[in-house]
Amino acid sequence: MSKKQIIPKKTPMPEQPPAERIKNYDEVPYGYTREQAMAEAKRCIECGRPLCVDGCPVNINIPAFLKLTAAGDFRGAINLVKETNALPAVSGRVCPQEEQCEAKCVLSKRYESVAIGRLERFVADWEASQGSPPLPDLPPPTGKKVAVVGSGPAGITVAADLVKMGHHVTIFEALHEPGGVLVYGIPEFRLPKAIVSREVEYVCRLGARLVKDFVVGAAETVDELLERYDAVFLGTGAGLPWFLNVAGENLNGVYSANEYLTRANLMKAYRFPEYDTPIVRGRRVATIGGGNVAMDSARTALRLGAEESIIVYRRSREEMPARKEEIHHAEQEGIRFELLTSPVAFHGDSNGWVKEIECIRNELGEPDASGRRRPVPIKDSNFRIPVDVVVLAIGQSPNPLIAKTTPDLKTGKDGVVIVDNETMKTSKKGVFAGGDVATGGATVILAMGQGKKAAKAIDEYLKTGQW
């Protein structure tokens, strides 16, 4: 048993006050200072069986990195983290730590867990503050070429690892900015874009080639890529937005979260008319859904000037899939939650603009396949919410463009590419996949974890030729 003194609560992380931050797009938490980080890292009691490591999808050696941080050896700490996690500045901000490492922390049984996520963010930001990281020595080129399709978290991870193994890597990105969901989806106030470009730049400095504005499946098929590349990795994410299929869904003012966030983030509509892409700045905005994307959309609406931003979610707060911190931040910012509520129709004005959502109240029934209690509509409980913008954040699945143009690539439910979970091999020789395209929509850290596995298996395949 450890003899360390227990400090029950996390060191608070300073952040922008809610009334101020809803008027800007700047990041909400400021991050720890050196002193705060060292104090927080010292809260680790160095328990005998550190389960936090098991809770981490990429098994970062958390106790060791905390110990180095506590001692002020931030260089040592970040190097250790980066052994298994290519994007710590990202995962420190967007990982659902409360369900992963921090949930397993022994302190969390009676007190607050060590703030592992905040410390991961701290050491990553510390490294960035020291200027460009030195490049590692690279092995001699193997002469093997790999095409990485998509520059999101999975693609960046695979590319970085393969380049470090001496392979030639080309990353193909369909959009005009690299980063995938980190750029088009997650807002600046939660993940500053400078962090994403720094990570992409690092991979390019390592020697990967980035080709933007290139749609694999349209400009070239996977089969055509295989004529020029020895292996292909598909990290194309889950870019196909879902709709509810209820009446009035195509009215003006009804957005998919993908469209709403892409306009705001990638196209920088929040800076319109400096940037040319417009976005409807609703006075009353309702976001349908209870995940991180819903929180991002509802909070973006506030920053675009909404007087009221409402989350409409079909189950109760308990079942909300969003990170706790996002729900907490959304509440602090004054977002109203209409829980146990489902839209049944959208009603418009005579010009085709949405003006009301017709909803029905639910009660919770038996658990469904996801293990969460199923929402059951209460008869005759219909009511209407006046709105001028609606954002649908009810989920997404992989974009079918590649699957449609690659006949021998096996896909499952909702177009998810079927892979071997250990090697990330698809049904097609030479083609690997990982991240949301293989999971249907999970977390950034899982995408990076799969990217790591894929890089290893691709290296093996390139060396042996064995499929």
């Binding site: 504005d213 349209a218 020029r228 709709f243 998919s256 417009p278 409807v280 974009n399």
Partner: protein
């Protein structure tokens, strides 16, 4: 046997690189022809497909129809009408400028076959769009009637080019400065009423023109394909901005289209969705 390493690497096709403007010229008032060096697009483009373009780093992603290409030289031409901020910026481009984004080919190629007599109708930017379609249909062995419309004679262009790939070219002008009918839909109605056999109509132009064309052919049950032009962002099926309702089903024009059966399109919805950003577009232009 698998190709050797050497063979593989020598097979590198067109290298993606910066897209440079080769030239820009006015075709008619507010109507511009832009030609760029874009080898990737040029190597793959098929009639009916489009590209997405950004004029500068602040620009919107604008879908543009492709009107011609040269696969050997890697050149691609588009026609656009100057209507708002983004197309105004495109209208300022000059030879040597580099476009930050020129991505494609996007959308499905237009279905091409030997149907018999095909009317290809174009208005506005669509006069350019129908040129490669008429050419391809002619190559397939169809009898091609190209039909172009405009408010007045001075708004028309490419008659000579269309004549070279069509069996007949018909012109309609609202002010009757040229041709015998006031618009394309009326011209098609006249043809059909006169007993002319038409096996298919392909119409490209403003939404209202395509709507009228679909209504003109509906009583005669002549299959009418329209190339829809809703607002788009990514052009790869990611945002859903371009959703249209066809035969009661929601489709994404960017990946399921842009070509659809005009008799099955929900035109009211499309017309309403086209107008979604009229206010902001005006604000953006006035800055």
């Amino acid at each position: 046997m698998e190709p050797s390493k050497q063979e593989r690497h020598s097979k590198d096709p067109v290298e993606p690189g910066p897209v440079t403007v080769l030239g820009r010229e006015p075709l008619a008032p507010n109507m511009q022809l832009l030609t760029v060096q874009a080898p990737v697009v040029a190597s793959k483009i098929q009639p009916g497909q489009f590209v997405i373009v950004r004029a500068d780093e602040y620009g919107e992603r604008v879908p543009l129809t492709i009107v011609d290409w040269d696969r050997e030289k890697g050149a691609v031409s588009c026609v656009f009408m100057q209507v708002g901020t983004s197309t105004y910026k495109l209208g300022k481009l000059k030879a040597g400028d580099v476009l930050p984004t020129f991505v494609g080919p996007l959308g499905k190629p237009l279905e091409l076959d030997r149907w018999g007599t095909v009317v290809v109708a174009g208005g506005c930017y669509g006069i350019g769009s129908i040129y490669p379609i008429a050419r391809a249909l002619k190559e397939k062995g169809n009898r091609v009637i190209s039909l172009i419309e405009g408010r007045s004679k001075f708004l028309l262009y490419w008659l000579d080019r269309l004549e070279a790939v069509s069996d007949r070219v018909l012109v309609s002008t609202r002010d009757r400065s040229m041709g015998n009918s006031v618009d394309g839909p009326n011209a098609v109605k006249d043809l059909l009423a006169s007993g002319e056999r038409i096996d298919r109509v392909i119409a490209i132009g403003c939404t209202f023109m395509m709507y009228l064309m679909a209504e003109a052919t509906r009583p005669f049950a002549v299959k009418t394909i329209v190339s829809l032009n809703p607002i788009m962002i990514d052009g790869t099926g990611m945002c859903g901005a371009c959703r249209v309702s066809v035969a009661g089903e929601t489709k994404f024009a960017c990946v399921d289209g842009p070509d659809f059966d005009g008799h099955q399109v929900d035109w009211d919805l499309l017309l309403a969705r086209r107008k979604a950003y009229l206010g902001p577009e005006t604000d953006s232009g006035e800055r």
